[in-house]
């Protein structure tokens, strides 16, 4: 039996997909239930973007997270969504690590307000990134093995 298509790896892929999808939907819900300006303030606190970009990101990111989470939960376009999740989480983690190293004591803005960037939040987002990378690896390798098995 092909390693990349073993039952355990398929189960792991499904579990990671549902877990990450749930996390993205939850994060989006926490942001969307509050005035969007609160999330804009969290983004602005990083000091990385000009005002117009802060507003644009604060308006669009929660909806993008919601869409990504729902598509991950649905299991459609898994390679694209897993890669997008990994890229998004890598972006979040980079911004958070950059601010933490600079000694900025700011909210991460990941799950609503009140969550200050700390080793705990960095470890949490690092774990999510690792999960997204594993999911992307399983999705891409699984497809490659399917194609090769069809050819043989």
């Amino acid at each position: 039996m092909n390693f990349w298509r073993s039952n355990r790896l398929v189960a792991l892929q499904v579990a990671l997909r549902i877990f990450l999808g749930g996390v993205f939907v939850y994060a989006a819900w926490l942001k969307l239930r509050e005035p969007w300006m609160l999330f804009a303030m969290s983004v602005d606190a990083y000091g990385l973007l000009p005002s117009w970009a802060v507003i644009a990101l604060a308006r669009s990111l929660p909806w993008a997270e919601l869409l990504l989470g729902l598509v991950l939960l649905s299991g459609k376009w898994i390679r694209i969504t897993s890669a997008a999740a990994a890229a998004l989480l890598l972006g979040f983690l980079t911004a958070m690590a950059f601010s933490y190293v600079k000694g900025m004591r700011i909210e991460c803005g990941c799950f609503g307000s009140g969550d200050i960037i700390s080793p705990r939040t960095l470890a949490r987002d690092g774990s999510l990134l690792a999960a997204a990378l594993v999911l992307a690896l399983l999705s891409f390798r699984g497809r490659a093995s399917r194609i090769s098995s069809r050819r043989s």
């Binding site: 509050e34 005035p35 300006m37 609160l38 804009a40 303030m41 602005d44 606190a45 005002s51 802060v54 004591r105 700011i106 909210e107 307000s113 009140g114 200050i116």
Partner: protein, 196 residues
């Protein structure tokens, strides 16, 4: 003609009344305002100085003076700041002699100096008369002042506040903790809440 004159006079009087900010110690504005902002601040925190000197005048002029916001100052001295507690005690004591604003302004203006040399007393009393300074010095050591500060800190902790400055914005019993000192963003949030 007489009617137009009376209306104009009434408009002028209304405008003048609106531009005056009712200040009562640590509060400003009308308590029936639709939005309440509690500013949890630490006199030794640089971002609190920025908020006090750059954002607060705009908030007072554009929201408090127009009766849209009721402002309350809360003390939240952080343990990491050696003289913040003493500064808060002097400010609260100054409130009891009707000089909270003056002492708070002096403490923020000279923050860089007393944060290093610890001369809180000298800074706070520089804007008081000798008689007021004597009263404030005595009051600053009064247990009731320490209790007042402790109440503010506990109120902040209960609201989940863990950094300064934090604006705890309340509209229709819902609270929004805001740590930004970007007036443009705070203004947009207030306008959104007031439009509800």
């Amino acid at each position: 003609m007489r009617f137009v004159t009376v209306v104009s006079l009434l408009c002028l009087m209304a405008g003048a009344a609106a531009s005056q900010i009712p200040v009562n110690g640590k509060t400003a504005g009308m308590s029936i305002a639709p939005v309440v902002i509690e500013i949890f601040s630490d006199f030794q925190c640089p971002a609190c100085k920025t908020l006090h000197e750059e954002m607060l005048p705009s908030l007072l002029a554009n929201y408090v003076a127009k009766g849209r916001v009721y402002l309350i100052h809360r003390e939240f001295p952080l343990t990491m700041h050696a003289y913040a507690g003493q500064a808060a005690a002097y400010a609260c004591a100054a409130e009891r002699v009707g000089k909270y604003d003056q002492v708070a302004n002096a403490l923020f203006r000279k923050q860089a100096t007393w944060s290093v040399d610890g001369k809180v007393d000298e800074t706070a009393c520089s804007v008081l008369t000798p008689d007021e300074a004597r009263k404030v010095r005595a009051l600053a050591k009064d247990p009731s002042i320490a209790a007042e500060i402790q109440r503010d800190v506990q109120a902040g902790q209960k609201a989940g506040i863990n950094q300064t400055p934090t604006l705890l914005i309340t509209r229709d019993r819902k609270q929004y903790p805001v740590t930004s000192t970007n007036y443009d963003l705070v203004r947009r949030l207030l306008d959104e809440l007031l439009a509800k």
